[in-house]
């Protein structure tokens, strides 16, 4: 059981407000996406949850209790800008990082061996970090983030710099960790991965949460109620003016394709009924916005956008 809640968190740096009354709710064993343009305040919020930065106002609750210093042992954090000690050996370094998270040396070595086997990188143990390629270093960082079996995982842009094969491995691992009981917070610009992985999201822009909720629910909220139908023969359909609106139509070879918006609570079946009486329907799809579209739309609409 693990849930995280941020309530009215505010943070002001010397010359700007980084977070303004931000509240998010992360349910246990879910994947939560934290979205927003650069400079919106995502990293500040993540740092506050990790107790790297101190908030000015507000509360962070873990399982309903205010967060305390010892909670860092339960959190695994992979920052966006991440590095390792270049001169240190791979194994030593990972053990050190795990020890800082509060697990014993022996346990760290045992756990690490398991992960090294899984990623097939056992031969790296005595290499210096500077001898590894960037992708290899990122694998090591990922292991260092998860090896102490944290209940809450926080990834800041986890996929940047990984090749597609490794991105896939990581995604699988993250989903697996979630299924094993971990709660995951993601911060990313990669909208495709958000739709694929996240259960809930919050969109932060200019230090404020401007949109939050379940991914499906948000898509539902933003859908324009437009259906794309293709049919034969080529002809315009006769539609009831108060129930439907023809957005566009075009000829695609033998098929005729139209986009029709449903108005005033009209149901898709009403459209189908209207269509089947007039033409031969070949396909019928609802047009759904992508999270990417919603992101751009919301950020552009919010005041002061583009100032950061």
């Amino acid at each position: 059981m693990f849930s995280l809640e941020a309530i009215n968190v505010s943070k002001t740096y010397i010359n700007h407000k980084a977070l303004d009354n931000v509240s998010i709710q992360v349910e246990e064993q879910s994947i939560f996406g934290l979205l927003g343009p650069n400079g919106a305040g995502k990293t500040t919020l993540i740092r506050i949850i990790n107790q790297i930065s101190v908030m000015d106002e507000g509360k962070i609750l873990l399982n309903g209790e205010p967060i305390k210093p010892s909670d860092t042992a339960m959190i695994g954090y992979l920052p966006e800008e991440r590095g390792l000690y270049k001169k240190m050996k791979v194994g030593e370094q990972a053990v050190y990082l795990a020890q800082l998270k509060g697990i014993s040396k022996n346990e760290a070595i045992r756990e690490l061996k398991k992960w090294f086997e899984k990623f097939e990188i056992g031969s790296w143990w005595n290499k210096k970090v500077e001898e590894l390629s960037k992708g290899m270093q990122q694998k090591l960082q990922f292991i260092a983030t998860v090896m102490h079996k944290p209940r809450l995982l926080i990834f800041d842009e986890p996929f940047s710099g990984f090749d597609p094969i490794n991105v896939n491995i990581l995604k699988q691992e993250i989903l697996k960790l979630r299924d094993e009981g971990a709660t995951v917070i993601f911060s990313t610009h990669n909208m495709a991965s958000v739709e694929e992985l996240c259960d809930n999201i919050a969109l932060i822009n200019n230090s404020k949460v401007i949109l939050s909720g379940g991914v499906n629910e948000i898509i539902d909220r933003y859908k324009p109620n437009i259906f794309k139908v293709s049919y034969t023969p080529h002809k315009s359909i006769d539609l009831k003016p108060n129930a439907f609106e023809l957005v566009s139509e075009e000829k695609l070879g033998d098929l005729h394709s139209s986009r029709i918006r449903l108005l005033n609570g009209t149901k898709p079946n009403d459209l189908l009924t209207a269509l089947t009486s007039q033409v031969e329907v070949h396909s019928f799809n609802e047009i759904l916005p992508s999270i990417n579209d919603i992101f751009i739309q919301e950020v552009n609409q919010s005041p002061n956008s583009g100032n950061e």
């Binding site: 010397i14 740092r47 990790n50 107790q51 790297i52 930065s53 210093p69 860092t72 042992a73 959190i75 954090y77 992979l78 920052p79 800008e81 991440r82 590095g83 390792l84 000690y85 270049k86 001169k87 240190m88 050190y96 990082l97 020890q99 800082l100 998270k101 509060g102 960082q141 260092a144």
Partner: protein, 438 residues
């Protein structure tokens, strides 16, 4: 607390295992020992060649005055310069001293021919003999008996005796004290810089390769900073300890090994100084200089010296390394450190620069205040201590140093905490001041 120990451990081990540490640890004592051994060794070595000097004295003034020395023998020749030159210089170690006839009343010119190096001992001896003889002749010419002058020559021996509380009297010798004081001060300066810069570099490394954010998700910034500072301090102490032990080992090994235990280094050094005494022609002092030196050295309280060296090294290091940590946390690039390093180094450089003044007047008001202010006290007090400083002054100075580094680490912690996560900002003093007050 467990976490700060982990950090100390890492900072310590990573440095102690480095090749450069091991090399420095071995090289330091070798250098130190060779500084002590080499002069004696060289003196011993150079004296192995015996010199035969033929004296062709056309004036007839000097030839009888040259007496055979340990490694130098003189003999007279009476032909002309060309013949004698050819005869005398038939092999290495043979020289010809030619004193030509002159129109001057007292001849003061001579030529020394050799087919190798003539050596400083020989030339000094020849010059001193001729000088003494010429001076005597001049005195006689003015009607003064040189023996009168000789007997009127006195050598003043001034023993500084410090009366301490309780009436305990201690013999002191300013030269030895100056040497010890300046040596201690310079060592502290050197150590503070050497290990302070390691703190700076370590902090910058963590910031530049961005591991700091991962670490800070586990520990507090202050823990990370102090862990690094303490870890490096322990590296310094380890190195210092190893240097002392190894230097002693090398010295003992050298003495018993090379000289077969029969003659020790000090003897050689002393015989060397006696030769030069003889060469200059002064009468040797009543007291053997070495018994004097040991007496003085035993008069200096080495327990206090070593304790205060360790204390001022640690205190000064903690004070300055916290500044260095703050700088390392604040800047992004190596090049930016320079502008902040300079003002931090000024008090240190100033105290070293003032060391000459302080050894001359170890009790002046300036010396007193410089040894009280925490920024300068580690070096200045170290210079003053061999001269004898009242215990209360040392106590006040040490307490002020402790207060000083508590304040400096607190301030540095605030700058470090903000700076370490700040990238791409050009830092100046105004910004640091804001961080400090934030």
């Amino acid at each position: 607390m467990n976490k700060i120990f982990l950090i100390i451990q890492r900072e310590y081990l990573i440095r102690v295992k480095k090749k450069s540490f091991i090399i420095m640890t071995i090289l330091g004592p070798v250098l130190m020992a060779s500084l002590m051994i080499l002069p004696a060794f060289l003196a011993d070595w150079s004296e192995a060649t015996h010199k035969n000097v033929a004296v062709l004295d056309e004036t007839g003034w000097y030839y009888e005055k040259f007496k055979d020395q340990d490694n130098i023998s003189f003999y007279h020749v009476h032909n002309d310069l060309e013949t004698d030159k050819e005869k005398a210089l038939y092999e290495k170690g043979h020289l010809l001293l030619y004193i030509p006839k002159t129109e001057l009343s007292i001849p003061v010119y001579a030529e020394l021919f050799s087919n190798g190096q003539s050596g400083l001992n020989l030339t000094t001896y020849i010059k001193s003999v001729m000088k003494r003889e010429a001076e005597n002749k001049k005195l006689l010419a003015s009607g003064i008996n040189p023996d009168v002058i000789k007997s009127s020559k006195v050598s003043i021996k001034l023993s500084n005796i410090r009366v301490e509380e309780g009436g305990i009297e201690k013999k002191s010798n300013t030269e030895v004290e100056v040497g010890l004081g300046i040596f201690g001060g310079i060592m502290i300066y050197f150590f503070i810089f050497m290990f302070g810069v390691q703190v700076l570099k370590g902090v910058m490394e963590e910031k530049q390769n961005r591991i700091v954010e991962i670490i800070l998700a586990s520990v507090k910034p202050f823990q990370l900073m102090m862990g690094k500072i303490i870890g490096i301090a322990m590296v310094g102490l380890t190195q210092f300890l190893l240097w002392i032990i190894l230097t002693a080992v090398f010295l003992i090994a050298f003495q018993s090994g090379i000289f077969g235990g029969s003659s020790d280094t000090l003897d050689i050094i002393s015989s060397q100084s006696q030769i030069s005494d003889l060469a200059v022609g002064t009468t040797t002092g009543v007291n053997d200089p070495f018994t004097m030196a040991t007496e003085i050295i035993s008069g200096i309280n080495f327990k206090i010296m070593i304790f205060s060296f360790l204390f001022y090294f640690l205190g000064g290091y903690l004070l300055y390394s916290s500044f260095f940590a703050a700088i390392g946390g604040a800047v992004d690039q190596d090049a930016d450190t320079q502008q902040f390093m300079l003002p931090v180094s000024i008090p240190l450089i100033f105290s070293v620069a003032m060391s000459g003044v302080i050894v001359n007047q170890p009790d002046s008001a300036m010396s007193f205040w410089l040894s009280m202010i925490p920024l300068t006290s580690p070096i200045t007090m170290m210079i003053r201590i061999p001269f004898g400083v009242p215990i209360w002054e040392i106590a006040v100075s040490m307490s002020l140093l402790v207060v000083g580094f508590l304040i400096s680490t607190w301030m540095a912690g605030k700058i470090y905490r903000t700076g370490i996560l700040m990238y791409g900002q050009k830092v100046n003093y105004a910004i640091m001041w804001k961080w400090l007050r934030h």
